[in-house]
Every structure is written in C-alpha cells, then in structure tokens.
Symmetry: C2
Subunit: 452 residues, 2 copies
C-alpha cells in the first residue's frame, strides 16, 4: 500500500478539523498528515480573544483548543512556526520556511486553509506605538498585557462584532472607551439600522462612547506614541487604539500558485470543498461558501463555518462523501447584558439583491412580563413578499434573547415559511418566555405582511 | 343582518384566545360573544402559580392576563362566577348557574373550552386540613398565604412539572420539602430515566428530598390536621401536603350532552377545532390534538397548545380558515438553576408505540467550556432507525440550556432529520456555546446511530 500525504496549510479551525477528521478515517500508513502553521499555535479560539483581553477568561491556554503535541499524539504532524511560502501545483509540492531554514515538501492532497487576516487600512499614523489589531493569539496576549498596565482611554475603530467585543472588554476594565465607525450604524453587516440603534443606545448607557459616520483617516501621535484618533477638529484622544475593520481572506499563496478564486475574492470551492485544481482543497475563512438564502457564494469569517467546512473536507479526504450544506451566516454576540444575534440576510441586503422583502419588528420580553428577571427583547423577522419565505432575522435583548436566533436559523434551514414558524410548538414557562414566544410573534407578523 | 351568538364555556387560555380572535374578525352586530367562566377569573396564567406561591411573582394580579372588564371593553361579554350546568345540543342552548340563580342562554355557535381539573386521587386522609391541590388562582392564593405563615415541612405528591415547580417554591421559602412519586423517576412522562436522574440528583443537592417508587395510599392526620404522607412504617411527616398528580380534561358536560369524545377521553376535534356536532367547537385542555410525531390524538394540558387551539377556533369562528397544525408536546421548566426541557416522544414512548428508536445522550456545556458562567448540559436526541427522523429530544442543564429544545422542536416540525440538524448554521460565541452547539453534537450522534 502506498502512503498518501496530505499537506494542510494553516492549523486553525478548518485545517485542524479536516486533519482530525481525515485521521479518524484513515490510518497513518495510509495517509500521512502534515500541517504547516505559521504562528506559534494551532486550533485556537479567535472568538475567545476579546474575553481574554477583558479578563473573563483568565487562562491563556484556554484559547488553545489543542496543542501541537496533542495532535502529534493523534498522528497528525502539526508544525508551528512553519510558513508555506509558495505552492507548486504542477510539482505537487510546497516551499516552507521553518525555524531552521527552508524546505520543500511534496503532497498528494493539499488543503488550503490559511484563514483570514485583519484588514490593515491605509491610515496615517498606523505605525504609532499603541495602535493594535486583534486577530492572532499573540495579538490577544499583547493587548491583555497592555490593558492591565494602565490604559486610560481607548478608541476602537470599527463597529463590527469584534469591535464591539473589544469595546465591551475595555469598558469592563474601567477604560474610557470610544467606538468609531464610518458606517451610519454599528453592526451594519448583520443588523438593519432599527436594530443597530438598540445596540448603540445600550452601549452608550454602559458608558461607551459610540461615534458613527466617522471615517478615520489619521491617527494622531506625539513622539511616536499614539495620542488619539482623528487629526482634525473632530478627534478622540486615546492612549490605545485598536483597529477592528474586519478581515480579508488570505489568498496570496493561492493566487500566486494559480488556484482559482471566486467572485468574492476568496478561494472557489465546490460543495465537497474541492478547488478547481485536482487534489487541492480549501476550507475556512479563505474559502467561499454557498449562502442558502441568496444562493450566491459568500466569504464569511465565522468559526462555525470553518469548523463545518473543515469537517467536510476531512471526511472527503478520509475517503467518505460529505457535502457542505451552505451557510446562513448565523452569529451571536453580547455587549454587557445585551445579547445580539442575526441570521440570513438583513432587510437591506435582501432588497439590494432584488428580493422583495418585508419585515416585522416586535418588542417583547425574554420571559413572562411578570417574571422578575424578565428584560426587553426585540425581534425582527424578514420574509419574502408573496411566499413568506424567511430571509433573515435579528434579535437584540436581555439574557436569554440571543440564542433564540437558532430557531429562525433552523426554520430557514428547513425552508419553513414565516407564517408556519408562527405556529410551531416552542417551549413555554414563565421564567423562559411568554406563552407565545417572541419568535412566534415576529414570525406571524412578518408572515402576515408577506402574504397580505 | 342577523346577529349570531357565540357562547364560550370556560374563560381561560383557549376560550379567551378564541373569543378575542373572533372579535377581531367580526363586529359586535355580526357576532355576539358571551363567555361563561365558573371561577372568579378569566385568562389567567396557571403556569405562573408555583412562582407566585414561591414569592418570585409578588403581585397576584400578574397572574391574570386580562380582567373581565378588559374583555367587556373589547366587546366580549365575559361573565365570571357563571357555571354552565348543561348543554342542550338539539335546542342549541346552555343552562347556566349565575350568582343570582339560573338562566338558559341560546347559542348559534358553542365553544367548549372547559379546560382540565386536578386529579383528586382516592387516598385516605384527602380531607384533612393542610392537604391541598394547585390548579386555580384561588388555590394559588390559599397556598401562598399558608406558606408565608410558618409551614415547616411539606410533602409534594407527584413528580411531574407542577410537582417539581411547587417543590422548588417550597425549598426557596426555606420549607423542608419532600417530593414523592409512585413512578421510578421524576418527570417520567417527558424524560427518559437517564435524564430524569440528573434532575432528581440536582433536587437532592438543593436539599429537596426525592422519594421515587412510593405510592401514597394514605395521608396521616391527627385531630383533623395533616401529619404526614404514608401511614405505615415508611412515612414522611408534613404540616402541608400538596397533591400534584396531574390533571384530567373536564369533559362531564360534553359527555352528558353527547359531544363525542376521542380515544384519549378528551373531546374529539378535527383540525379546525370542530367537534362532530355541527356548530360546536372545542379547544384547550379539554380537547384532543394531533401529535405530529406519533400521528395519534393526544390530550396535553399545556398553555401553549390551549392558546394555539383557541386561536384556530377563533379564526374559524371569525369567518377565516385556520388549521391546527398539531403538537410536539414541547415543554420547559426549571428547578433552581437547572433547566429541563423536552419535545416529542421519549425513547421509551417511541419504543412502546412500535417505532424503532435509537438515542444518543451527550454531555457538554452551556457555553464554551472556558467561559466563566459555563455549566454542564446534557442533551438526548432520539431518532428513528433507518431514517434518522427526529422523534424527540430532552435537555437538562444550567442557565441557557433549556430553551435550546426549541431548535429540536423546529427541526422536528420541519421533518429535518437528525443527521441534517447536525450541520445547521447555529449561532456561536464563547459566552453562548461551543463552536458546535450541544444540539449539533447530540443530533449528529443520534443520526449516526440511526443510519449505521
């Protein structure tokens, strides 16, 4: 028996999920698995980083799901501080810079799972001391040591999930915090403006300054050290600036090698995570995924998607037959006690791509209104006019509100229309909801709007 | 235009939902609506009663969703302390005992929504002072005044949802509490034994004594006052005994009048809430509903079902066309910090009715394992061998665990098989779940068992 070799570029969620799954299915003398990871960590939780910075998660090692040694023990040769510098598709080999020099490693199967990297905007003052980004575990460790040594004022540039989570962390540490975003609202990729307003109102009530519609073109400094964001009359003083402007897929290696990219600029894959090159696979933040509502490829940077796509690639590399079923883009976060979640398209996104969308927003409570722990909860459901097909949903509310987005996600997954979701048999007891769950009410109203 | 008259017997969830819905759709000069309610309250929250007894809900009026006056103002003639004593189907009229005497009231349409009543077992000592049941608001008020005036030891007979909720309330008040049930486990109608053990273990850790497999045949007393449960060597001293042995549909009036009952002993209805008698409808705890998994009629006493069935009846009475879509029996409760929920059939119930069921139970956590508020969570998913059709699910775990049952309920509603639920796009962030939600993991394992 010939031993095949699988080389995985990138040792985070997608790469290690795939490696683990392939290893479970094929023995070491059948499939050798080598993972090259340029950082010092494999399989880490990027999503946990803001919570480490904020001090809720105290143990840095908690952010590492598994160590290279643990993978080695399972028969996966996970090599950290190994950076793949080029891919030779014809020769079926990769060039690798390792701590001792350079090497060339041949492969039979290649999984391209390089992930995403933080967007580094062309802003004057980017190189000042005190300007940071948060993407890698090293970033998190650095930020953590900074915030525990006397930061007084921080500005977070970017109003996406990560931006808000970092702002929450800073506020929790007693740092005077400002979030600035050039967008008209926070979370504009996942929430419609009416829902986003609830989030910024809550942030302000927590003492976080939120500045929307502010484009940062300059970071001010003095003596090489950051002094604030904005260099004109409108500026925000800061001794720490974190840029959270989103991330982009790491496709340079793929592009240079000639692995085809898709319309989003990420690696194009089929529903088995195969690229267009025989023997080359891709999964995770660097690859596209099909959106189940729009039917279009998207490039979402979500741990859930990376884990699933990695698993699919791993099953197929392991000799099985798995199909990646697509994504809805379901996501959740919190700022203080406020839970925020969304799935599918926003109303604006649906309209933009030409779907006739209607939406209903309802105000309800997380529990029976008379339950002592009950708090407000707003649910927005978006449906297609004429069919009541669910296109998306958004939830903003107190403890217990956010995870209800999974009800919408499951309904959308199953193509259950809004007017039918309105009748489903959901659980009720006063500490948990009203007798009609807020999800029911929003679905019913969206269904009525869609069908009338 | 002739004004039709709708008479509703029973002014709780089903009756008032129907009345409200019909009123929204038809004006008062088109449809007169009279509701006869034998108690002093309409539209009250029976599910909130244990929480009023326990003192979490302080205001008695919170248990009344709406008052008779509020219904009057909406054009619904809701008459409390009016007991219907017989139904004359041929004459289309009901006999009513009101506070001033007797009357006969004609109807064009009749909605039979009498609800359920607590089962009163034939136990010696039932009439002793200090033996109570909890069903009506008056029961709740009586129990509340009792527990706040020096009860030291209480025994709750019955290990169902209400029994556990009352026990939680007593424990919360510092009362020495014992739950006895003749069943081998608590919650045996909604949880399989492995899951039920987690609940009784937790109750014991809270200081609640749980005695399973104990059939109460005698309540002991002295001088007409209760002294304990059990009159032999095995007995439990108590100065308060609450019987929570479940409820049965109030079908006496229907039976006497000749309204046909179904196989469960409750009123038989079609999917429009019509009984077999022209012009006579029924909804709520007194009526049957179709179980979506077994395909059989069931008689569940759940506020959610009563509200939905009432709404369906109301839409149809209002001139619309609504179909009751069936039930899964989804339910949730809590004991202390432990959340408990279930939907569909238990593994045992599925096997009993001849379905080849397989089950997978998994232990996970409510949040990422490293999140400070994370607590254990066990999920059991039950699927049909060969098809992976989801038959039921059960969840027992810390805060945030219980409401996830709605994901299963929505999947089951849509006939999404376990192996597909395993790939759905559910929300993830460390404060809310692991990257694979416990629901995913349980669904995947159940799917694998079912298909292999």
């Amino acid at each position: 028996m010939m031993t095949e070799r699988l080389v995985v570029i990138g040792g985070d969620a997608a790469g290690m999920s795939a490696a683990s799954q392939a290893r479970r299915m094929r023995k070491a003398d059948d499939l050798e698995i080598i993972v090259f990871e340029q950082s010092g960590y494999v399989s880490y939780s990027a999503c946990g980083e803001p919570y480490f910075v904020g001090g809720w998660v105290e143990d840095f090692s908690d952010l590492q799901v598994r160590t290279p040694e643990q993978f080695q023990a399972k028969g996966i040769d996970a090599r950290i501080h190994h950076q793949v510098t080029s891919i030779d598709l014809d020769g079926r080999r990769v060039a690798v810079r390792n701590p001792n020099g350079e090497e060339t490693v041949a492969y039979d199967q290649l999984l391209y799972a390089t992930g995403a990297t933080a967007i580094r905007p062309p802003i004057q003052g980017m190189d000042l001391d005190g300007v940071y980004m948060l993407r890698t575990l090293d970033d998190a460790a650095r930020l953590r040591s900074l915030v525990t040594s006397g930061v007084e004022r921080a500005v977070v540039v970017g109003g996406g999930y990560i931006g808000l989570e970092i702002a929450e962390a800073f506020e929790h540490l007693g740092i005077h915090t400002t979030v600035v975003t050039m967008m008209p609202t926070v979370l504009e990729r996942t929430l419609d403006p009416d829902m986003a307003e609830l989030v910024s109102d809550h942030m302000r009530s927590m003492g976080i300054h939120v500045e929307t519609g502010f484009k940062v073109e300059c970071i001010a400094g003095a003596g090489g050290i950051v002094a604030g964001v904005g260099c004109d009359d409108r500026s925000f003083p800061a001794d720490l600036v974190v840029l959270a402007l989103g991330s982009r897929p790491q496709i340079e290696l793929a592009k240079e090698a000639g692995i085809p990219l898709g319309p989003t600029g990420a690696v194009a894959v089929d529903d088995h995570q195969r690229t267009e090159i025989e023997g080359v696979w891709s999964a995770g933040d660097c690859a596209e995924a099909l959106h189940r509502i729009s039917g279009e490829p998207v490039n979402l940077h979500l741990g859930t998607v990376a884990n699933k796509a990695g698993r699919v690639a791993g099953i197929n590399l392991g000799g099985g037959d798995a199909t990646f079923p697509g994504v809805l883009g379901t996501a959740i976060t919190k700022v203080g006690d406020l839970e925020i979640s969304s799935t599918g398209l926003t109303e604006l996104q649906a309209l933009e791509i030409g779907i006739e969308a209607v939406a209903a927003s309802i105000n309800s409570t997380t529990s029976a209104h008379y339950w002592p722990g009950s708090s407000p909860m707003t649910v927005k459901a978006i449906a297609e006019r004429g069919t009541a097909r669910l296109l998306g949903a958004q939830i903003v509310g107190g403890p217990g509100a956010g995870k209800r987005i999974d009800i919408f996600a499951t309904a959308m997954w199953s193509e259950l229309p809004a007017d039918e979701l309105a009748w489903t048999d959901l659980s009720y007891s006063p500490p948990f909801s009203g007798v009609w769950d807020p999800v029911h009410i929003a679905a019913r109203k969206a269904g009525e709007k869609a069908l009338n």
